[in-house]
């Protein structure tokens, strides 16, 4: 608990929170990190395998093979999410399934499935980016800021 948060609490509240905290199991951080490392690594290795497959058999270059590779990983995620398996893997794997492209695909698919009952426009369309939206908003915004800095530096002749 941060000190800032603590200040707002009354002494009784503080006392109770300390009392409760000693009785709550902590998230097993080391175990979670290990699992995330293994699963995240496994997904990345799978992606690498798919990329090499596209390069060897479909004559893609190392750069252009990226797109079909991502597409295949997304399709696998879509299927696993649709069959209701992905969330169970994720409960075990944690960040291991969230960080790779599979995590992003899962946010969109799960939201789309969930809100199917509210129709295709307001339900699926309106909610698909409910979880993925912030990633896109701040991803695009940070890309914009970075490119602005690069342009300014180039005009000044620094780069």
């Amino acid at each position: 608990m941060s000190n800032k948060k603590k200040k707002k609490l009354s002494p009784t509240q503080q006392e109770y929170q300390e009392f409760a905290q000693t009785r709550e199991p902590k998230r097993p951080i080391f175990l979670n990190c290990t699992k995330a490392f293994l699963v995240g690594g496994l997904i990345s290795a799978l992606g690498q395998g798919i990329q090499m497959f596209f390069i060897k058999y479909f004559h893609f270059s190392a750069e252009t093979a990226g797109n079909p590779t991502v597409a295949v990983l997304i399709m696998i995620t879509v299927l696993l999410t649709g069959f209701g398996v992905y969330d169970h893997i994720a409960q075990w794997a944690g960040a291991g399934t969230v960080i790779p492209v599979t995590g992003f695909a899962n946010t969109m698919v799960s939201a789309a499935i969930e809100h199917r009952s509210e129709g295709f426009v307001l339900g699926v369309g309106g909610n698909m980016f409910k979880l993925a939206g912030p990633v896109i908003v701040y991803g695009v915004f940070s890309a914009f800021v970075v490119s602005l800095v690069v342009i300014i530096l180039r005009t000044l002749g620094v780069m």
Binding site: F19, A20, T81, D87, H88, N106
Partner: protein, 334 residues
């Protein structure tokens, strides 16, 4: 009749002449499966939305309770219903089907005992001959509203709880046979400043403790008066905190009689429930199913149920508000 600050004593001791518990697939694998009147293998119940499925659960619980009592819906003067979904839609829609004069309640997961207490007030005061109480919760509908889409892969901490899919109904009557509602303690809203929606047990424990203490203070009773004292859905962590807090306040309840519906309802080999069950249906199906069955068999004589509710909304959580909690206690005796 009011006794003490916040406890009602029902002089006529309204009778629970029938009760019903309906559950979902996960509850069917749970520890109390045999106490359900109806169990569903499909979380959708053949409906096209989770909300409709929850409405169906309530309709079935009401129908079953009426059938067990040998009554028609016209014999019921008032229906008291509640659930967790925005604007308590499943309850409202189930009440539309029943077409009985209806009072909608919201007390989060404490609604079951709020309803049972108010229903008993109606019957005890003579404002109703028969009152039906029905509450429900649905795992996927609650997840959808309060947290993330059901299929979204986020890792839940060990303090998180699993919302029970189910509905419990109790028919309270002035005449008949069955366990009797003898008293109720209405709780205060307690806020200890906790704000983690994945740790509701710890947020609700002080509310449960406050109501339990008020109950025994108002009635000047000792905890050993009861065969079972069960909290609604504190889960393993919240229940332990509540037990320790009561001991700290000098009012320890013996471990053999102090339990929690959220711990009882699932088996230990269902690790996905993490800290235990939650939701309106958690206290409702455990009380109206399991405990009342045990009372009818004569295995229990006096029970006290303290249903606990976390009064948060997804918006209040996003606006960084803490989680106020409430607990209502109802005593049922043979």
């Amino acid at each position: 009749m009011l006794q003490g600050h916040q406890t009602w004593i029902f002089d006529s001791k309204p009778i629970i002449i029938a009760s019903a518990a309906v559950g979902g697939p996960f509850e069917a694998q749970g520890a109390l499966a045999e106490d359900f009147d109806l169990l569903h293998g499909d979380i959708w119940l053949g409906q096209d939305s989770f909300e409709k499925a929850e409405k169906k659960l309530q309709e079935q619980a009401c129908e079953t309770a009426l059938k067990k009592a040998g009554m028609k819906k016209e014999d019921i003067q008032f229906l008291l219903g509640g659930d967790l979904i925005n604007q308590i839609v499943p309850s409202n829609f189930a009440a539309r089907t029943l077409a009985t004069p209806y009072l909608g309640l919201y007390g989060a997961c404490s609604t079951s005992m709020e309803g049972l207490a108010l229903g008993s007030v109606l019957v005890d005061s003579g404002f109703a001959k028969n009152a039906l109480v029905c509450v429900s919760s649905h795992n996927a509908a609650a997840e959808k509203q309060y947290r993330y889409p059901t299929e979204y892969g986020s890792q839940k901490p060990p303090t998180a709880q699993w919302t029970v899919t189910g509905s419990g109904a109790a028919l309270i009557s002035a005449q008949g046979n069955g366990p009797r509602v003898t008293g109720a303690t209405i709780g205060r809203v307690i806020d200890m400043g906790l704000s983690d929606p994945f740790n509701l047990g710890a947020a609700m424990a002080p509310a449960a403790v406050d109501t339990i203490e008020a109950h025994f203070r108002d009635l000047n009773r000792d905890p050993t008066y009861y065969d079972i004292i069960a909290t609604g859905d504190l889960g393993r962590i919240g229940h332990r905190i509540a037990g320790d807090l009561l001991k700290k306040h000098g009012m320890g309840i013996p471990d053999e009689i102090f339990t929690d519906c959220g711990i009882m309802i699932y088996r230990k080999d269902q690790p996905i429930v993490l800290a235990g069950g939650s939701g309106c249906a958690c206290a409702a199906v455990t009380t109206f199913g399991h405990f009342l069955n045990q009372m009818c068999k004569g295995e229990l004589h006096k029970i006290l149920i303290i249903a606990t509710g976390a009064l948060l909304s997804p918006m209040s959580y996003q606006q960084k508000e803490s989680i106020p909690s409430i607990a209502h206690a109802v005593s049922i005796e043979l």
